[in-house]
């Protein structure tokens, strides 16, 4: 429809290029700016393979993998949030609704407890942490708790409301257990888990990016498959089924995609879940009535918000950088309030 004009007045065909330009801009800004004041010339030469070893290490081994991990995680959180908000018809849904972040938190906590802290009961010793194991462990926990919630809701008829109620109940229990375990620890050990809990891109390497990449690609590859069902899942079940949709099957597929995206992202960077809540709202606001734009905008904005949020956290905090989870939450609340003013 040519007459569809999004809310901000730009013709819809300009929105995506504009958003893509924003991605590039934030990407470039994130490479050139940082705690270490690296001249632009040094950054450029590091990117082309020459330049000093120090500059190369900062750009190629610290900044770039961190940015790429952030972009992938941001896309995944935002997409997971959009899918969940759409199928549960709940504008406040985010990946924590499916217990993903709580389950991941609990598994990571348990994992650290059993592998490190029980073996080294001295509460002030700083241990070598099995960092590489955290992403798969967190993801596993997220998927398992998502699965438990799904099975519970399925037995009760799998309505959006049932999913929401089961999710809140199970999520609260898992969260309480994790917090209880953390509270029982000595003070010096809490720091690591707190860092992870607040959601951080600190010290993310190419390993993290490579861990995420297959999930990002798989999620994007699923989009053509769930694109039309997503339209229909916005109706109540009777209407969607009358239009010819196998409601339960398609609901489950979308839910699985959402959980997979969210759980792997939580595993890699911790629960930066606010991105999953905020970005879909922002995308819907920009797309206005032109719904087909919402999906691509969500993906693009997810990447932008996380990249910029992390940049702000790095630059504003100095050496004591502010975790991305904190930045997005602080930035996100006013945005959410502003957007919610539009809701009748």
């Amino acid at each position: 429809m040519s007459t569809n004009v999004p809310a901000i007045g730009l013709p819809s065909r300009w929105i995506l290029p504009a958003a893509a330009g924003l991605v590039l801009l934030s990407f470039v800004a994130a490479i050139f700016l940082g705690i270490v004041d690296l001249p632009a010339r040094d950054v450029l030469s590091a990117l082309t393979g020459s330049g000093s070893r120090e500059a190369r290490s900062i750009v190629l081994d610290i900044r770039l993998p961190r940015i790429v991990t952030g972009i992938l995680a941001g896309m995944q959180f935002a997409l997971a949030g959009l899918l969940l908000q759409t199928i549960t018809r709940n504008p406040l849904a985010d990946p924590s609704l499916m217990g993903v972040s709580q389950g991941a938190t609990l598994t990571v906590t348990l994992f650290l407890l059993f592998t490190v802290y029980l073996a080294h009961p001295d509460s002030y010793s700083v241990n070598e942490l099995p960092i590489a194991w955290l992403p798969p462990m967190g993801m596993l926990g997220g998927m398992v708790s998502g699965g438990i919630i799904y099975i519970l809701a399925f037995r009760l008829g799998l309505s959006p409301l049932r999913i929401t109620l089961c999710g809140i109940a199970i999520g609260a229990v898992l969260h309480a257990i994790a917090i209880g375990l953390i509270a029982g620890w000595g003070s010096a050990r809490i720091e690591i888990i707190l860092e992870w809990l607040s959601g951080s891109l600190y010290a993310r390497t190419w390993d993290h990016a490579l861990f995420l990449l297959p999930f990002t690609l798989a999620g994007l590859a699923m989009l053509p498959l769930i694109y039309r069902p997503l339209f229909l899942l916005r109706f109540d079940a009777a209407v969607a089924r009358s239009f010819g949709l196998s409601y339960r099957w398609q609901f489950s597929v979308v839910l699985l995609v959402s959980c997979g995206l969210a759980a792997s992202a939580v595993g890699a960077v911790g629960p930066v879940v606010f991105v999953g809540l905020i970005v879909p709202h922002l995308a819907r606001f920009l797309a206005g009535r032109y719904f087909p734009l919402v999906l691509p905008l969500t993906i693009v904005l997810g990447a932008v918000i996380v990249t910029l949020g992390d940049l702000i956290g790095r630059v504003a905090g100095g050496p004591e950088e502010v975790p991305i989870g904190v930045v997005t939450a602080l930035m996100g609340v006013p945005v959410l309030l502003a957007l919610l003013r539009k809701v009748p």
Binding site: R89, A238, V239, R241, S242, F243, F291
Partner: protein, 265 residues
């Protein structure tokens, strides 16, 4: 026979919402489903559309059991418009009506010319061509109702089930919807079953009427015979008479408003 069911029973927990309901519709027939609130009209429609599983009996589309068909296969042959359907407020009329083509295009096939024509026809038939780009929240209750009817029409199904399609419409749009129903059946041979509250409209528009009471079929036949049977007065607990308005025209049920009469003081 496009649509039949025999001995259809539906249980809600322990309550029997429908018991032993039978129906057999001819091609192009308009059938009204009437009965008091809670008599099982919506339940019957949903069971026929395969949306709820009956505890007994079965519904058939062209001789094939509905329970054995996929949702898409059903939607190609049967369009069902529930009572007060819910859609996202920011959805436009055109986007809603396009969803009616899902059974035809499926997950991947792109919208062809036939699909666009069906959408256009559905919008025009409901007088919504000029409102296609409005969002649903910008519409009046009557326009919204017509948008949903339009989406059901876009399915181009040979069977149309409507659950109280005229409620919330003013008398002008009520007549328009009933006229559309009549035209669809006569010009396109669409078989139409609709739950409806207004007995006079039911009598005026339908070829046959089914009367439900407490989940059981009390009457199945032509409108004129319903008028003679005295069942309407009994089932709805009212007093009234069927009066002939004009020769050859369906009778009009004139209800006595006895319950409104103030007691003599």
């Amino acid at each position: 026979m496009p649509l039949t069911c025999s001995q259809l029973s539906v249980l809600y927990g322990r309550r029997k919402a429908l018991s032993g309901f039978s129906l057999s519709m001819e091609k192009g027939e308009v059938r009204a489903l009437i009965g008091p609130n809670g008599s099982g009209k919506s339940t019957a429609l949903q069971a026929l559309a395969g949306l709820i599983a009956p505890s007994q009996g079965r519904a058939e589309i062209e001789g094939v059991a509905v329970a054995a068909m996929s949702r898409r296969a059903i939607a190609k042959k049967l369009a069902f418009l529930p009572q007060q359907p819910v859609a996202p407020e920011e959805m436009t009329v055109a986007q809603l009506v396009r969803q009616g083509r899902f059974p035809h295009v499926g997950l991947f096939r792109s919208y062809g010319r036939k699909d666009e024509e069906a959408i256009e026809w559905a919008l025009e038939s409901t007088g919504l061509a000029g409102l296609a780009d409005r969002t649903l929240q910008e519409l009046s209750g009557g326009e919204r109702q017509r948008a949903w009817i339009s989406a059901a029409l876009a399915q181009e199904a040979a069977i149309l089930l409507l659950d109280e399609p005229t409620s919330f419409l003013d008398i002008g749009y009520q007549v328009e919807v009933l006229d559309l129903v009549h035209r669809l059946s006569r010009e396109r041979g669409v078989t139409i079953l609709m739950a409806i509250h207004d007995i006079n409209q039911a009598i005026a528009v339908s070829d046959r009427i089914s009367l439900l009471e407490k989940g059981e079929l009390r009457f199945d036949g032509e409108p004129a015979r319903l008028a003679e049977s005295g069942l309407v007065e009994k089932t709805f607990r009212v007093r009234g008479t069927f009066v002939e308005v004009a020769p050859g025209k369906p009778p009009h049920f004139d209800v006595e408003l006895t319950k409104l009469r103030r007691p003599a003081s």
